[in-house]
Symmetry: C2
Subunit: 313 residues, 2 copies
C-alpha cells in the first residue's frame, strides 16, 4: 500500500481547536503521571548553511500510535527569501511498527500544541478575573498564544511588546481586525498586565520581575535550550506557584533551570503542568504564578494521532 | 508542492549494484577520513508488542542531502503473520533543510548498503585466490552477502551453516538455482572455508577460532548491539589485520569490542574499513584477516541521496 502523505491544508481542515485543546490537555496529564515515553532527541548541525535538524520521538504509553518528528531550521535561507523552518511528522503504529502516514504539516501541529499548552496552563493558573494580556514577542507564537487564550476566557486588552516595531504594529493590526483591543506597549506596561506570555528566543530576560504586579500570571514559552532565558530568576523567587511541563527538561533547558541555578528557587519547587489541568488551581488573588513550558514530545504523538484519526475516518 | 514518496518497487528499478558499490565505497572512505556526521541514534521500546524503533541520521560532510532513517522491529507481529520489520528514509536537503522525499523502501537500502559494505571489505581483505565461501546464518543478509560478493569475485562453493535446517536447505536451493555450487555444512567445515561471513543475531560466537585456517578472511555482519557476539575473541588474537567500519561503534557494539574486553587484542589494533578500500591491501597468504561491521549511518545518507538522484533525474 502506498504510504499516505497529508499536507498542511488537509491537516488544517481535519482539526478543530476543541480537539487540539482536549488532546493536549490529556497528553499533559498523562505526562505528569509518567504515562509517556520521550527519548532524548537526536540533533544534527550544518555550520555552513547555519542550519540544524532536531528529531524528536514521543509516545503516550498504551496509545495506538507513536510519532517521530523531524524539524529543521536553516537560517541562511532568509538570504534567499526561502522559508527557514521545515518539518514533518511520521505516525507509526505502536502495535505493529508499521508507518501509518506522513503528516507534512510544515510545523503546524507543533505550533498548535504549543499554543494550546500555553493557553491551557495560563487559563488554569490565572485569576478568574484576569483580563489584560501582554505578549512579549511578535512572531507566530505571540499571535497564537493570544488567539488560543481568547478561546478560553475573555481578554479585554492585548498589549504587544517586541523588538521590531513594524512586526509589533502588524500583529496589533491583526488582533484589531479580529475585534480585539490591541496596542503596542513598552516593557513597564507589559510587565504590569494581568496575564503575561513570553514567546521569544531571548538569551537574556525580557521582563523586569520587580514590575510584575501581585495577582499576575506569567507563562514562558520561548526558552527550550539552555542558552535561552526569557523569565528572570527574581520572578520565580516571587512566585507562589511554579509549573513546568517537564521537570527535567525545564531544569536543563528552561527558565526554571536558570532560576534554580541562580538560587532564586529550589529544584523541588515546581508542580507538573498536567496536575494543574486536572482540577481547579487554588491560588490567592495577590499571588504571582509562573509556568515554564519547554515542549513535550508526547504532545506531538497525541496530536498527530488524533489528527490522523480525523483524516482517515 | 506535494512531498514525493517512492516505494520499494520504484527504488529497486532506480538502482544498480554498481551504483550501490560505488556509493558505499565512497561513503566508507569518507567515514574513515572523518568526513561524515553520525549523531547517536534515538531508541524507543514497546514492551507489550515486543517492538523497538531506531532512528538514525547521517551525513557525508558537504553532501547535498542528509537522511533520517526510521526502522522498526515488532516481533509479536509473527504471531499474526505480519512483517516484523518496517522502515523508511527521509531525504533532507543539507543546504535548506527542506525534506526532498520519502523513500518508503521497507529496509531495502539498509539491506543493500550492508551487503555492499560486507562484499567490498571481504573482497579487499581476502587472498586473491580465496574461492570457497561459508555463510553463517540463513536470513536475508546471508543470501545478499553471497550474491554481492559473487559480483566482485568468482566463488567456487557456498557452504551454508544455520540453526534452521529448513531455511539452510531453502537458501542452498536459491543459490543453486542461480548456478552456484551450494550445500549445507557443519560448524567445522564452515570454519575451514577461505572466506567466512557471519550474518546472525547470535549472542555467543558462531565460529570456533581454532578451526579457522591460515589464509582465511572472516567478516562479521550481525553484531550491532553490545549483547550480540558472533566472532570469538580468539579469532581476533589470531588475526594479522583487523578492520572496523567505525572504531567507537565496533568497540561499543561489535565483535571487536568483545575481543578487546576479553584482552584478545588491543583497542588500537583496528584499521578503518574505508582506508583498506582506497588501495590494495597488503596481506601474507597465510595471514588471517577479520572485518567487523556494525553499520554506519552515513552510508544510508549517501545511498539514499544517490537513489533519489536517479529517481528524479
Amino acid at each position: 500500500m502506498t504510504l499516505p502523505v497529508f499536507d498542511r491544508a488537509a491537516i488544517e481542515q481535519a482539526v478543530t481547536a476543541d480537539l487540539v485543546f482536549e488532546t493536549v490537555r490529556d497528553a499533559l496529564i498523562a505526562h505528569a503521571h509518567g504515562r509517556t515515553v520521550v527519548p532524548p532527541p537526536l540533533h544534527l548541525r550544518f555550520l555552513d548553511a547555519d542550519g540544524d535538524c532536531h528529531v524528536k520521538a514521543g509516545w503516550v504509553t498504551g496509545a495506538a500510535d507513536f510519532t517521530v518528528k523531524i524539524a529543521t531550521g536553516f537560517y541562511r535561507n532568509r538570504r534567499f527569501s526561502l522559508r527557514t523552518n521545515h518539518g514533518l511528522v511520521c505516525v507509526v503504529s505502536a502495535e505493529t511498527g508499521h508507518v501509518k502516514a506522513i503528516l507534512d504539516d510544515e510545523g503546524l501541529l507543533t505550533a498548535w500544541r504549543t499554543a494550546a499548552a500555553g493557553a491551557l496552563i495560563t487559563h488554569a493558573m490565572a485569576r478568574t478575573n484576569a483580563a489584560t494580556l501582554a505578549v512579549v514577542g511578535s512572531g507566530e507564537q505571540a499571535r497564537l498564544q493570544a488567539d488560543w487564550l481568547a478561546l478560553l476566557r475573555p481578554i479585554s486588552t492585548i498589549l504587544v511588546h517586541g523588538r521590531s516595531q513594524d512586526r509589533v504594529q502588524a500583529l496589533c493590526r491583526e488582533f484589531s481586525a479580529r475585534g480585539q483591543h490591541a496596542r503596542p506597549a513598552g516593557p513597564r506596561e507589559t510587565a504590569g498586565a494581568d496575564l503575561i506570555i513570553t514567546t521569544t528566543p531571548a538569551a537574556v530576560p525580557v521582563l523586569d520581575a520587580a514590575h510584575v504586579l501581585e495577582g499576575a500570571h506569567v507563562t514562558g514559552i520561548g526558552s527550550d535550550m539552555a542558552h535561552k532565558n526569557e523569565l528572570p530568576p527574581a520572578l520565580f523567587a516571587r512566585a507562589a506557584l511554579i509549573a513546568t511541563d517537564d521537570h527535567d527538561q525545564c531544569l536543563q533547558d528552561g527558565d526554571f533551570g536558570h532560576a534554580v541555578r541562580a538560587g532564586a528557587t529550589s529544584a523541588a519547587s515546581d508542580t507538573p503542568v498536567g496536575l494543574l489541568l486536572e482540577s481547579p488551581v487554588q491560588r490567592l488573588d495577590d499571588a504571582i504564578t509562573v509556568a515554564d513550558l519547554t515542549g513535550v514530545g508526547a504532545l506531538d504523538a497525541a496530536l498527530a494521532s488524533a489528527v490522523l484519526h480525523n483524516l482517515t475516518q
